[in-house]
Symmetry: D2
Subunit: 109 residues, 4 copies
Amino acid sequence: MTHEHYQSVIEALYECMAACNHCYDACLKEEDVKMMVGCIRLDRECADICAYFEQAISRGTPFISELAQVCAQICEACGNECKNHHHEHCQKCAEACFKCAEACRSLIA
Amino acid sequence: MTHEHYQSVIEALYECMAACNHCYDACLKEEDVKMMVGCIRLDRECADICAYFEQAISRGTPFISELAQVCAQICEACGNECKNHHHEHCQKCAEACFKCAEACRSLIA
Amino acid sequence: MTHEHYQSVIEALYECMAACNHCYDACLKEEDVKMMVGCIRLDRECADICAYFEQAISRGTPFISELAQVCAQICEACGNECKNHHHEHCQKCAEACFKCAEACRSLIA
Amino acid sequence: MTHEHYQSVIEALYECMAACNHCYDACLKEEDVKMMVGCIRLDRECADICAYFEQAISRGTPFISELAQVCAQICEACGNECKNHHHEHCQKCAEACFKCAEACRSLIA
C-alpha cells in the first residue's frame, strides 16, 4: 500500500467524520426530530469509528485490515440510513459514508 | 444477552484498558525500553479499542458483534506480546487481555 | 494524591460515562424526543470527556489538573440539564454527573 | 467566529494529530528509544486531545473555549519537548504543535 493511498483513505475518513457530525448536529435541530432518531444514532457511531480509524492509521496500527472491515460496515449502515432522508445534510452525509466505505474496503487484506 | 452479561463484559473491558495503560506507563519507565517497544505499541492499541468498545456497548451500539470481533483480536495480540515479558505489569496485562478477549468472543453473533 | 483517590475518581468517571450513555440511548427512545434534544447533546459531550479522562488518568497523563477542570465543567453542565427532566434515566444521570464533577474538582491543583 | 475560521482550526488539529502520531511511530523505531520516552508520551497525549477536539468542534460542542484552552496547553507542551530533538519527525511535529496551539488560542473566549 503506498503512502498516497493511505493519505486518500485518511481524507475520506475525515470527510465522513465531519459529514456525520454535521448531520448529527443538523438532525437535532430539525423540526421533526423523531423521524431522525436512527440517523442521529448512526451518525455518532460512524463519526466515532472514522475518527478512531483515522488515528489508528496515522500511528501505524497493525490492525488496518480488521479495523477497515468494521469501519466499512458502519459507514455502509450509516449511508443507507441517511440516504432515506431528503435533508441536504443527510444526502451529503450518505455520499461521504459510501465514499468512505469504499476507501475502507480498499484496505481489507 | 442479559444486562448482567453485558455488565461483566464492560468490566472486563475496563480492567483490560486500565491494565494496558498501566503497562504502557510502566514499560516507558523500564531500564531497557527498547525491548518493550512492541508492548508499548500494543498496549496503546488495546487500551484504545477497549475504551472505545466500552463506550459503544454502553450507548447501545448496533455493532456489538463486529466490534467484539476486532476487540477480541487486538486483546489476543496484546496478551500474546505481554506474556513474553517477565515484568509483573506485563504478566498482569496479559492476564487481563486474555480474559477480555474471551469476554468479547462471548458477544460475537 | 494516593492511588486509592485516583481509583475513586476513575470509578466516578466510569459511572458517569455509563449513566450519560444510558440516558442518551433512553432519550432517543422517548415519545417526546424534541424535548430531550439538549439532554442528548450533553450526554454525548459528557460521556466522551469522561471516557477520555478515564483513559488519560490510567496512562499517567501529566495534564490531570487541566483535564479535571474541563471535565468538571462539562459534567456540571450535563447534570444541570438532566436534572430538569423527570425521567428516571435523567435523574440518575444528573446524580452521576454531579458526583463526577465533584470527584474531578478534587484533582484540580 | 466564521465557518472558515473553524475550518482552519480543524485543519491545524488534523495536521497536529497526524504529525504527533507519525512522530510517535518514528520515535519507537529510533535506535535510542530511551531518549525519546518523553516525546512518545506527549505525542500520544497530543494526538488524542487533537483528535478529540476535532470531533467536538465538528459536532458543534458548546465547550469550544474550555477545550481550546486545554488543547493549546497540551500542544505547547508537546512542541516544547519535540523541538529539543534533532530528528526530522520531531522538528516537524514541534512545528505542527506550535501552529495548532496558536489556532486553539484563537478560539479561547
